[in-house]
């Protein structure tokens, strides 16, 4: 178990480094940061001045090394537009994004797991068809459009929920649904197919032959086995939600990281964008690492390998 954890941790660290390298290079390379920083209509001398001042004239790898070194100390640079430390900006806004992401994932799981179980127990009946319809429709609907429709319907026509801002929990209801709905199909199908597969397996036959009753067979023996791949998918989906919240945050005027990223991209505020990409990637890597650990806890076979 210890070896497994260490291996996973080592892999996570290497991936983190690679991701930070890639995002750094990508953003430096796809445009001249000096030009964007100097602003439109800047003369060549002004651009050169900016370039030297920020160190853009040095080899890329040195720039990365310095940036990474500072990042490890929590210094993610300053935003040239707001003249604020980027780390502080992120800290202020990450709460909203994290709340949104976690609630969206919880919504998706609360909706999809029971549905998946029910659909698996009664395949090809009306409940199965409803579950599959929800799943198929959820995968086809653009989440931003769904958000807009929710606003029109619940915010304006029915006036049940506020349509922008992040002051109270009601503000998070519609964004949560709009963001979480997209993950529901993937999880529900996995639960459904996993349950169906496990229910047909030999050890369930043994459980029935032992005379165990259905609730125990379902929850103790079937769900435990079927949920194993769901953990990995849930972690991945949470990562996507944290990264993909950019659209939802913009629609619902939520002041989170996605919104910050969006605004920073619009005004070419490179340090902020880099920092956010780094932050989201690291969060994803940590989440998948935790999911791996959870997997090992659920499945004894992984612990021994």
């Amino acid at each position: 178990m210890l070896i497994y954890t260490l291996k996973r941790l080592g892999l996570a660290v290497i991936v983190m480094i690679t991701v930070s390298l890639i995002s750094f290079m990508l953003l430096r390379v796809s445009g001249d940061p000096a030009i964007s920083l100097a602003g439109e209509g800047a003369s060549n001398e002004e651009i050169e001045f900016v370039r030297v001042q920020y160190g853009f004239d040095r080899p890329l790898i040195i720039q990365y090394y310095e940036w990474a070194g500072r990042a490890l100390h929590g210094d993610l640079g300053n935003s040239p537009y707001l003249n604020q430390p980027v780390a502080q900006m992120i800290r202020e806004r990450m709460g909203v994004t994290v709340i949104l992401g976690v609630s969206a994932l919880s919504f998706a799981m609360i909706l999809s797991i029971p549905l998946g179980i029910l659909a698996a127990i009664r395949p090809n009946t009306w409940i199965d068809r409803i579950a599959l319809s929800i799943s198929v429709m959820g995968q086809a609907m653009p989440s931003f459009w769904f958000g807009l429709i929710l606003i029109i319907f619940f915010g304006v026509h029915l006036r049940w929920l506020p349509i922008s801002g992040s002051d109270s929990w009601q503000h998070f209801v519609m964004p949560t649904i709009a963001l979480g709905y997209y993950a529901t199909p993937a999880i529900m199908r996995l639960v459904r197919s996993g349950m169906i597969e496990v229910l047909a397996s030999d050890h369930i036959r043994t459980a029935r032959a032992k005379g165990l009753r259905w609730p125990r067979i379902l929850f103790k023996h079937t769900l435990r086995n079927a949920i194993i791949p769901v953990v990995a998918v849930a972690a991945v989906q949470l990562g996507f939600m944290l990264g993909g919240s950019i659209v939802i945050e913009s629609i619902f005027a939520l002041n989170g990281l996605g919104n910050l990223a969006w605004v920073s991209i619009s005004r070419s505020d490179l340090p902020v964008v880099q920092a956010i990409v780094l932050f989201l990637s690291i969060t994803y890597i940590i989440l998948t690492f935790l999911a791996d650990l959870l997997n090992a806890f659920l499945d004894p076979r992984i612990r021994s390998s």
Binding site: D202, R205, A209, K210, G211, L212, R213, K220, L298, R301
Partner: protein, 327 residues
């Protein structure tokens, strides 16, 4: 002596896309306490379906009709699933062919053994554990108390099958159904497991149904034999009658396929039965064996071919009267 298990005119059909498969056709037999009945036949002859029908574990596409399936006097057919599940595991236990996949990989051996007992009887965890340890020793597993904490994937196939046997015994059932218990194991382990089953059966005075295609295994363990072909009973009798005086051409063919120490001469060719088993779908009549039988006549295709009963336990299904063999 009243029978432990009595099966009368059991039919099992499977509703398949290709048609209605008649997996089990008009099968009757009875099992006595302390005795072993063996259901013998090739793969696909319906013998596993019989076991599943008795336990009430048929797949959803399976349809079961019988005049009676009586276990210790209670008619299992008339029970609902809830009542039937109190019998399963507690009074009749079943052991399956694939020990590698028959245990839940996520829980310890101890957990699964204890669960088999606590589901049916109100005992404390401690008592259940003691019973598990006791039975593990009975099935020949050493170091039982540490074994309880192990997971299935840490154990070999032979060990897992022993654990399956111990699990079946947790509640002290009176009937054990063993469906090809040794087929998936190495040859050397096969003999050990069969001996174990046999000795346990005798020690606890249980009735056993042994389902197998391996005549060698049957010859050592069975008291009574039911030979099956294509879903039907073709011959029944006790072990001596079947091996020394087989009547039905199929049984005779089977006997010629196995080497018999003392009788088969070195270099002598073993027999084989040409042809393949037909798939019993749709309208069926006459003897199912006739397209492979060297003695087949036109009469064999007549409808309504019944079992000819010589005595209570001895019967055969053939139009040709039995020929006394010279040995």
């Amino acid at each position: 002596m009243s029978a432990l298990l009595e099966v009368k005119h059991l039919n099992v059909d499977l509703n398949l896309p290709a048609g209605m498969l008649h997996a089990v056709r008009d099968v009757s037999f009875s099992v006595q306490k302390g005795k072993t009945l063996s259901l013998v036949g090739e793969s696909g002859c319906g013998k596993s379906m019989i076991a599943l029908a008795i336990m009430g574990l048929l797949p959803p596409s399976g349809i079961c009709h019988a005049e009676k399936i009586a276990f210790e006097g209670d008619d299992l057919l008339k029970m609902d699933e809830k009542k039937l599940s109190t019998f399963r595991g507690a009074r009749m236990a079943m052991i399956f062919q694939e020990p590698m996949t028959s245990l839940d990989p996520c829980y310890t051996i101890g957990n699964q053994l204890v669960e088999a007992l606590t589901e049916h009887k109100k005992v404390s965890a401690k008592e259940a554990k003691e019973r598990a340890v006791f039975l593990l020793e009975k099935v020949g597993i050493t170091g039982s108390s540490s074994r309880l904490k192990q997971y299935p994937h840490q154990l070999s196939g032979g060990l897992r099958q022993r654990i399956m046997i111990a699990m079946g015994l947790m509640c002290g059932p009176s009937l054990i159904i063993a469906d090809e218990p040794t087929t998936a194991l190495d040859v050397t382990i096969q003999a050990q497991i069969m001996e174990l089953l046999s000795s346990i059966q005798q020690e606890f005075n249980m009735g056993m149904i042994l389902i197998t295609h391996d005549l060698g295994v049957v010859s050592r363990v069975a008291d009574d034999v039911v030979i099956m072909y294509c879903g039907q009973v073709v011959e029944t009798g006790n072990i001596n009658e079947i091996f020394n005086n087989p009547i039905h051409p199929y049984t005779r063919g089977l006997m010629e396929c196995i080497p018999v120490p003392g009788k088969t001469k070195p270099g002598e060719k073993l027999g084989s039965i040409p042809g393949i088993v037909p798939t019993p779908i749709g309208d069926l009549w006459g003897c199912s064996f006739r397209n492979r039988c060297s003695l087949a006549k036109q009469e064999c295709a007549t409808r309504g071919l019944e079992l000819t009963k010589i005595s209570d336990k001895r019967s055969f299904r053939c139009v040709i009267p039995p020929v006394e063999t010279t040995e």
